[in-house]
């Protein structure tokens, strides 16, 4: 399709790019499903106290008469080894997951973007320094690094957040660096310089707008992977600590009761999958819609 659009003979005249983007989005039911999933997860996290059938299950509540209850009308996802409602814990678990996403991306994205802009625009020593450092950081196996950091710092949500943030910015630096390098071949950058524009203006008013759609797509895809990453940390016992309801911890604990009481591990596992799937579908949809390559 893109070859056709580049062809000057291609008959796409008469549509604005906004209309084309909307057309692509509308023709992509998966993207709409993704958006719906993401919205449902966000709403669940925000309104957890009102939505959860038994909010007290989020804490260290114990109900031994009801432990290991299979899914039923009372407990749609069953109960765990101390009788807490799994559904309620999943809903609260989304709070933890999304908090992690906000914390990580809130720091990593701006930091990574600014470094990428600077490396691509200034070149020379700035570029060498930033990009070599990024290369080294990329050579660190992220999960191993995060494990090591949280283990030494003592495992909890904040430290997990710090560890993931320390590793996450590199991807944004790389992405932005690549885009800016390509943009530097365009005449508009030199034109702005001839017009007397300052470096700050060129970086943030001229170059940044050309990175926005790629970053938007990346953030959407990232959100899912941060959730996955956090869950993996807790699964190994190095993330969020009990009794805070965390999806990864729930899978780890639940897997001890596999396979007979499968719901205790599988339900939170599916809940993680559901959220990641939503962010991925949304990200893919945005990618098609905004026509960016990552």
């Amino acid at each position: 399709m893109s070859a056709l659009l580049n062809d000057p003979d291609a008959p796409n005249r008469g549509l604005t790019s906004g209309q084309m983007a909307f057309y692509r989005f509308r023709r992509n039911p998966l993207a709409i499903i993704g958006a719906i999933i993401v919205i449902s997860v966000i709403l669940a996290a925000i309104f957890a106290p009102w939505l959860a059938p038994s909010p007290e299950s989020a804490g260290s509540f114990v109900d031994f008469r009801n432990r290991h209850a299979p899914p039923s009308w009372d407990h749609p996802m069953g109960t765990d080894n101390v009788g807490r409602d799994v559904l309620s814990r999943v809903i609260y678990g989304y709070r933890v997951s999304l908090g992690l996403v906000l914390g990580v991306l809130g720091f990593a994205v701006p930091f990574g973007v600014v470094l990428g802009l600077a490396a691509g625009y200034f070149g020379g020593w700035t570029e060498t320094l930033i990009m070599r450092f990024t290369d080294i950081m990329l050579a660190l196996p992220p999960l191993a690094m995060a494990l090591a950091i949280t283990a030494v710092l003592s495992p909890n949500l904040i430290n997990a957040m710090i560890a993931i943030t320390l590793l996450w910015w590199t991807w944004h630096t790389r992405l932005i660096y690549r885009i800016v390098k390509a943009q530097m071949n365009e005449d508009y950058v030199e034109a702005a310089r001839v017009a007397g524009a300052s470096d700050v203006h060129i970086l943030f008013r001229e170059l940044l707008p050309n990175c926005v759609s790629a970053v938007a797509v990346k953030i959407s895809l990232d959100a899912g992977f941060v959730i996955l990453f956090g869950a993996a940390l807790s699964f190994l016992g190095l993330g969020v600590q009990p009794p805070t309801p965390d999806l990864g911890t729930m899978v780890a604990t639940g897997s001890e009761y596999m396979p007979e009481m499968w719901w205790q591990a599988v339900m939170p596992g599916l809940a993680i999958l559901y959220a990641i799937l939503g962010f991925n579908l949304l990200g893919d949809g945005l990618r098609d819609m905004l026509d960016v390559e990552l």
Binding site: L153, L236, M258, W262
Partner: protein, 340 residues
Amino acid sequence: MFSYLLRRAITLLLVLLGLAILIFVIARIVPGDPARIALGPLATADQVTELRAEMGLDAAFPVQLWTYLTGLAQGDLGKSLLTSRPVMDDIRAALPATFELVLFTVVLQIVVSIPLGVMAAVYRNTWVDNVLRVVSLIGVVTPGFVLAILLQLVAAHYLGFFPVTGRLDGSIDFSADITGLLVVDGVLAGRFDVVLDAARHLFLPSIALAAAGIGQVMRITRTAMIEVAGRDFIEASRAYGIPERVVTFRYMLRVASVAPLTILGLEFASLIGNAFIVEFVFSWPGIASYGVRTILQKDLNAVIGVVLVSGLFFVVANLTIDLLLGLLDPRHRIRAARDR
């Protein structure tokens, strides 16, 4: 070509040196005294002082760094607090298992994802493409540990044929001394019972490990193929009467394979990361299992060693891919030759 290789090798060493320094600095600037962390809150002040001296922690920071780097150059990573053996020995013992698993996984990824990606591109926007899209999506979004547990559940209770823990059945008496890779050494020793059993053991962990990468690489292959399909020289080949099959596999795939291979290299770091989980779940006696155990014990020397070795894996994998790209694309080679 030779000078190109040499330059790449030197860049590689520099990255590794940077990595070593970075890891050391991180390990030292994290709050807390490594000796205290290692001994736990119940240790006495004397014990801590003693361990500090033993670990060389009372020297000045640059001295510590220098001691560490010179030790590293001689292959000395210090002693593990967990096993009381040199970290290097522990790693040497655990490395082949991980190497075998990772190698198997990467081969699986290439063999599965590139053909499927090509197929998705050839049949793009048909039901084939849609089915493959869902498959790749499932691979990408399923967390490694969830997949690992599900595979264990299914395999243990319904399939039975695939074992869910370890590298080799306890009843088989065999030690891999040549390469350390059971499958390879089994072939070399003519022990096909070993080869079969080792392959059976590899099957589930490598699927759990490969799934995410397969999804990614499939998608990248598809995109790259579609992009290349729109280039002028493809239209020219068609117009000169080259059959469609040859256009797809010789003309498009060779150019398009650059992107998936690059991604495979970059994703290698997360592959090693995921190996931590997969080895943990499948009790695979590799370096990641060792890593998880030592991390839980706050065994700093061992942790540094494990992270360094993982970094080495990544860097070497990327160098390999770079050379592969050079073989695939003459522009790499020509540029390298011109630089001389």
